[in-house]
Symmetry: C2
Subunit: 350 residues, 2 copies
């Protein structure tokens, strides 16, 4: 893991100087000080992340990591496994929710095949970075090898590097993978120490009987695999998913390159939690977008001390909440950059 | 008030047929049913408002009603009265927060001089509809005449009519007026029956001593003017503002023409509350954008049974929260219109 260590060493604290410059400018803009609330806080944070006193969020991307899960064999989802590949096709054709919201936010969509269980046709918007044809079933064996876990993290880092070469002011992280709430719950339980039955949700919308079964499967996986909190890469290996490892890597890669990274709902947040466990310094680079309906999402955010920007009772994933949040972050930065000061506008102060 | 009655008669319930069509389409879009939460609810509501099963929010406007208040003489604001005119200039020059957020939302800005205390230079973006050079001081006499109260309502209606002629799919209502939180609080107290000291806030940011003074002024205005809950136009006459009457009229005008109307913070919501008291049928056409920091905002929303979409701890006014909400409503409608169905995308269902 020399490559991963090398990247992690690049993760630095936010720039206090640029945060001070942005906060100072906020005081002189034509509004009562503090009256833009969280939007002011966001603009100051982005100044610290990007080392710019007037950052712009012009180049935006949503990276969607897709992969399949061996544990889908246990019937933990309401949808069949082939939906993962079908939805990747839908993302690329522009018909999915994330496709629409990315157009609305002016963000490009990048779909990464981190481990879909079938061979996907080439497409200009699809990065073929398959680590395997889905993970293995975590109640029978480790979901992946240690080498694959490390590979998935490096995959996420390289996706951010690739996007930086096209211009990247902010990145949103989404996912697709039938049964991946089961994997994300196991990761969340391993890191937060909260029992699975308290943080397992209905995912795509399973009924009570299947929810009880899902909790049982996650409990069995945790007791059989025994993921160790002090070894987060081992957690990824034992109960993770290729797309979740990709997201964790992308968080680390974005922090190392000082790009604000917006996380989405349950699975995306599990990826960020894993990144935080591997490299705590990434935390100030992470922006929590929405509060998901999915049980356990708030527990993960609390574990990181993050507050979501809004709660629209969403539970879709794909990066949909994160993409909406991009519009808010962009607005916050435009306010800092484009508003007139009292002096410029000839407006009297208090 | 034949003109007002004639408009109010046009306010009809939302179309159940179009809401059903939209809700039915939502079920077939490529996502678990209900997983877009409030965005789905919003799209269905907009379908009912606009009588379109796949509404588009392409033509957007923010109408900012500006006026001065006689009660500013009592020192209830942290800023001098001339700031109203100065900020109108700032809106028109594009340097205010609302200017930036309107550009971000792709909405045009329309500034209406409903009663600024000074003569404003002509500007293509400014509608000169001055009802007076500010209201009178409500602790000395009625803020305006009954005829002026009616005129301000008709002004708001005519602004919506004018904007409809330029194309209007959604309208956000903002305001500017030094001391107008005092007037809005008096209106809120008169309609909700809640004592002023429980719903008076710091407006642009006054200290404890001035807050106590502001509460005293509002209490005196209410005890001297005795606004009657059963006569909302009389409330506007006694303790209102020209811009608040304009906003109330715009809410009625938008509802009559089936245009979704997004309200902002404390003053904008007081205008909507007044519209609701005058014509309860407007309510389903109103979308509450944000929860303001200003004390008493939530009491007004509760009185109408409205829930805000988000809470960014804002307290600026101008229409800033409403303008951000336009982006959310537009996203909700685009999802309904642009997403592929399971059949179109070839995605398996449950």
């Amino acid at each position: 893991m020399n490559e991963l260590s090398r990247i992690m060493e690049k993760v630095e604290p936010l720039s206090g100087d640029f945060m001070e410059q942005a906060a100072e400018r906020q005081k002189h803009l034509t509004k009562p000080a503090g009256s833009l609330g969280i939007l002011e806080d966001l603009s100051v944070k982005i100044a610290g992340i990007t080392r710019s006193s007037r950052p712009r969020m012009d180049k935006k991307a949503v990276c969607i990591f897709a992969a399949d899960h061996g544990v889908a064999d246990e019937g933990v989802s309401a949808y069949p496994r082939e939906v993962t590949a079908q939805m990747v096709h839908n993302f690329l054709e522009g018909g999915a929710a994330i496709s629409v919201l990315a157009r609305h936010a002016g963000a490009r969509v990048v779909v990464i095949d981190a481990g879909v269980a079938s061979k996907l046709d080439p497409h200009p918007g699809l990065a073929n970075r398959k680590i395997g044809f889905g993970t293995r079933n975590m109640i029978r064996e480790d979901a992946m090898t240690r080498a694959q876990a490390e590979e998935s993290l490096l995959l996420g880092i390289s996706v951010v590097e690739e996007e930086l070469s096209h211009g990247l002011d902010i990145v949103a992280l989404g996912e697709m993978g039938i049964a991946n709430t089961a994997s994300a719950t196991a990761i969340a339980s391993a890191i937060t120490g909260i029992e699975a039955n308290r943080i397992t949700g209905r995912g795509t919308g399973i009924d009570d009987a299947r929810l009880a079964h899902k909790i049982d499967i996650i409990d069995r996986a945790l007791s059989l695999r025994k993921p160790d909190k002090s070894d987060p890469i081992g957690i990824l290996q034992k109960v993770g998913g290729f797309e979740i490892g990709g997201i964790a890597g992308a968080v680390i890669g974005a922090a190392a390159r000082r790009v604000p990274v917006v996380i989405d709902g349950f699975i995306s947040t599990a990826g960020a939690l894993l990144a935080y466990a591997i490299c705590p310094g990434v935390l100030p680079y992470v922006i929590a977008s929405h509060a998901s309906v999915e049980t356990g999402h708030s527990a993960m955010l609390s574990c990181m001390g993050l507050s979501p920007l809004f709660d629209f009772r969403m539970r879709l994933g794909e990066g949909t909440g994160a993409c909406l949040a991009i519009g808010i972050v962009e607005a916050a930065c435009r306010l800092l950059d484009e508003m007139a000061t009292f002096g410029e506008a000839g407006v009297s102060e208090k």
